[in-house]
Symmetry: C2
């Protein structure tokens, strides 16, 4: 195979890759999935140990069972989060109301997502808070590569609720962490500029909390508050 | 400001961004740094909390002191790793011998690196092994954005040796993790295809350890073994 030619630029891709949770039913061709996984695998890792692994669930027998298990977990997790995080009410056209509907649709149709990737980390030392530096860059590469090929996805941790059942079902060894669950497919919506906090709130110069005068944003950048509604300042 | 136009494609960038440790002395213009930090800040994070922060060290008074402290840490860490990981000896043209020389040059000249970014995570709950999913995607975006603008860098953890001195020097609060130290600058060498394990070793289908027949690599892909020399199988 050959890597397909790019139609999306690098900075463009970095700044316009949205979390995608609504998928068209179209299957993902093998060649596209290969290109995406190849790009994911080019990510850096500590001492280039490359401890990341991608367990890809499509329509095989165990994949089908695993998707059903994950669907149950995602519906439970969202029900809890929806209640706890202050969704509901207010303007139905507000971004958070749209997110709420997208989340509900996402979990209700989880089993129909064409591809679900379990991003895993083979541990070579005891678990610690920094080990993610050898797996989450590869997850980000995966999401960006999906964007490059017209697909989309989202990084989630909701497998945690069924991890005890998922591991024996998929033969995942004890020394392997399930670092993320990444559903992938062709989006129903579009990618586009993402909204974040103003850059001045997250970039400091010379010392913590010191503003970086040079950290300007592109004209027209739109902002959002951080986190779920219940945590808004 | 406006984001500059892309001259590197998205898949191209994902598959050809190398760790850069040799830098030209050229300073990094403010506008380039702004574009890089902006792209970094577009990364996803759990519940879009955006808990990542970038403390950028250039030539301010505290930055200079912090770079000196980090330089000491990097030289100590590399001396330990060099001895422990079986570098030295063998063919001076082998990739590992070249890496060894690049590492020595890197740590010997650390204070001259134009920009050093401390990527930080503001914790909102107790530290855990998965919290990196809200900071390392942003670190990878940062490295890819540097690539997009003709710069390069590398993600390191060697600040750990001097973290107790670094925190008060830079006013970094107790609830903030220093998740990575990322030196940045214009590379002396070039970016290009990176070497990794064969894709078949890291992608599984339907269950752990099951080969994914579709996971083919682009023609001409070159491989490397994983990790430092002492761990080679």
């Amino acid at each position: 195979m050959q890597l397909p030619p790019d139609s999306v630029g690098l900075l463009e891709g970095l700044t316009t890759t949205r979390a995608i949770r609504r998928f068209r039913p179209d299957p993902v061709p093998d060649a596209e999935l290969a290109a995406i996984m190849f790009a994911a695998s080019r990510a850096p890792s500590g001492s280039n140990r490359q401890p990341f692994r991608f367990l890809v669930l499509r329509d095989g027998p165990r994949a089908t069972d695993a998707k059903a298990l994950l669907g149950r977990a995602f519906r439970e997790a969202w029900a809890t989060k929806r209640a706890a995080d202050g969704y509901g009410g207010g303007d139905p056209n507000a971004p958070k109301a749209r997110l709420e509907r997208a989340m509900q649709h996402f979990v209700d149709h989880f089993e129909e997502v064409p591809v679900v990737v379990l991003a895993c980390l083979v541990r070579y030392r005891p678990s610690n808070a920094y080990e993610g530096n050898s797996v989450y860059p590869a997850c980000q590469n995966l999401l960006l590569a999906a964007r490059a090929r017209g697909l989309g996805g989202v990084m989630t941790m909701w497998h945690a609720l069924v991890e005890a059942e998922l591991r024996p079902l998929l033969d995942i060894p004890d020394d392997v962490a399930i670092s993320a669950t990444i559903p992938l497919g062709y989006p129903q919506g579009r990618h586009g500029p993402v909204r974040r906090r103003p850059l001045g709130e997250i970039v400091f110069a010379d010392a913590w909390g010191q503003p970086a005068a040079w950290a300007t944003e592109p004209e027209g950048t739109q902002h959002t508050q951080a986190g779920p509604p219940s945590e808004r300042r």
